[in-house]
């Protein structure tokens, strides 16, 4: 059983046709997992639906608490890419006895040419295979929490 904690981020954004802006009407992660014919048992928890640029320290504490309270030792967190590394660093300080993988997308699942499904496949596989620790799966790579940064100019995660 995998615990999947949903916090929002680009991966879950939708287009609002009434005002032309992107928003979070609901999460699409279970729909994505179903489309993927994924048969791994997953326990979903929608913690919040936020752009990660708007995440505050209190939000990260909530994420940390959800990880601590999780009965499952294997946890995926869907998260906006802009502060994903920051949340990973926060979790590394407080949570050492579980395998936690953070993942998001550069293009929303519901927009053409999205990387969302691929990234989710990376996270599902990584969380099953990796030992305890905090990781990020983006761009087809598995990064340790303390050796990764997002290059915002080109929109890619890189080893640092």
């Amino acid at each position: 059983m995998i615990k999947l904690i949903i916090t929002g981020g680009t991966i879950d954004k939708r287009y609002n046709e009434l005002n032309g802006e992107l928003y979070f009407p609901q999460t699409h992660i279970p729909e994505m997992i179903q489309q993927s014919r994924c048969t791994v048992p997953i326990d979903y928890q929608t913690l919040m639906l936020k752009d990660s640029l708007e995440m505050q320290e209190a939000d990260r504490e909530q994420v940390g608490l959800a990880c601590a309270e999780s009965k499952e030792g294997k946890i995926i967190i869907t998260h906006g890419t802009d502060t994903m590394v920051e949340t990973a660093k926060y979790l590394a300080k407080i949570q050492q006895d579980k395998t936690i993988v953070l993942v998001g997308a550069m293009i929303p699942f519901k927009i053409n040419n999205s990387d969302a499904l691929f990234n989710l496949g990376c996270a599902i596989t990584a969380v099953q295979l990796l030992p305890k620790g905090i990781y990020i799966t983006m761009n087809g790579k598995v990064f340790d929490w303390d050796k990764v940064n997002k290059d915002t100019k080109i929109g890619e995660f890189k080893n640092e």
Copy 2:
């Protein structure tokens, strides 16, 4: 660097609007990798584009040869799901010193509701994390070659 050997299968099928049938005009795997913003270096080799039900022993020998000749120790093989297990068993007999992950899809990449991108994400991650051996990544799971079967009634891979 990952070696990605393309053999066809549902993942690469397209709809032929002139006769209403599915066919293989070309592979879409590099397009899928590009959409995924995957920055892992990949060396592509299009070995064949076949429905795996039409794969013969000579085709499997060709796949085996490509694996043997690969300079890379990490190999992904895209493959039809119907005889994926058979090819995995064949490879297990002849190839023991590389990490080989077979992957495909139940729905073509170019058809609505496809599992292709998710599965490809699983394979890319698995091949980077797993020790030497022959594996199948389908349905979000990582299977050892000798402990998996496709349940054709429901279209899912299962441990046996």
Copy 3:
């Protein structure tokens, strides 16, 4: 109010992931109309879900009967492209007092790169603007029933 008679055809085909073939689990026309934000009142009638190559004389009689029994004077018929002209000719013999537009698609709605929504938009508009008669809307054109043929080599409808 427009009467929309559904007979199947490529526009409504789906991919069957269990056997890799295309089939008709149900119609998607109401879903397509909803996606189009079309607010024209429509009365749907699913008459059959057939590949038009398999349509028999009895099927055409059924289509003709449905047109005759329609209380609405404006009728759209979704239909396979292969024998669409044949059905149009049949209807022209028996039904002169209504505006009937036949429409289909070269690529199923549920497959990448489909012309289905565009064609449906053409049909909805044509049926509202045209006088009584039998018409086909394909390739962005409006054809009279007696001046059209499908060029099967290139998959396009042309004036003849």
Copy 4:
């Protein structure tokens, strides 16, 4: 031959993965026409790529000039929905000897669940069938320029 004047609007917006905003990297109208297998000859003119809320009087004058200079008597204008009615009214004052159809979309072509292709099919058909005048095709309906308004609360065009 149809003249197709491109001005931007939601129909042509794309998601910018570097900043998470929608923008206009280029027009997608020719790509949409190609996907539609539309064989009607079209002369494209990309006049501007603007959100219609940002259109100024000078922009409308430019649109009017392009209509006046068009050798073709049948003109489609792709346009943002928010001020589409305003542009139609402007054109009605200055251009009486051509058939002009304005069209747009509530959801961009490149976003899931878009009405773009359907609307374009409506416009292509309407411009071929309608007499001289200024029209709007949205929601599957054909509106005269002086009898239509956008209900911004529900995002639908209505007769007024």
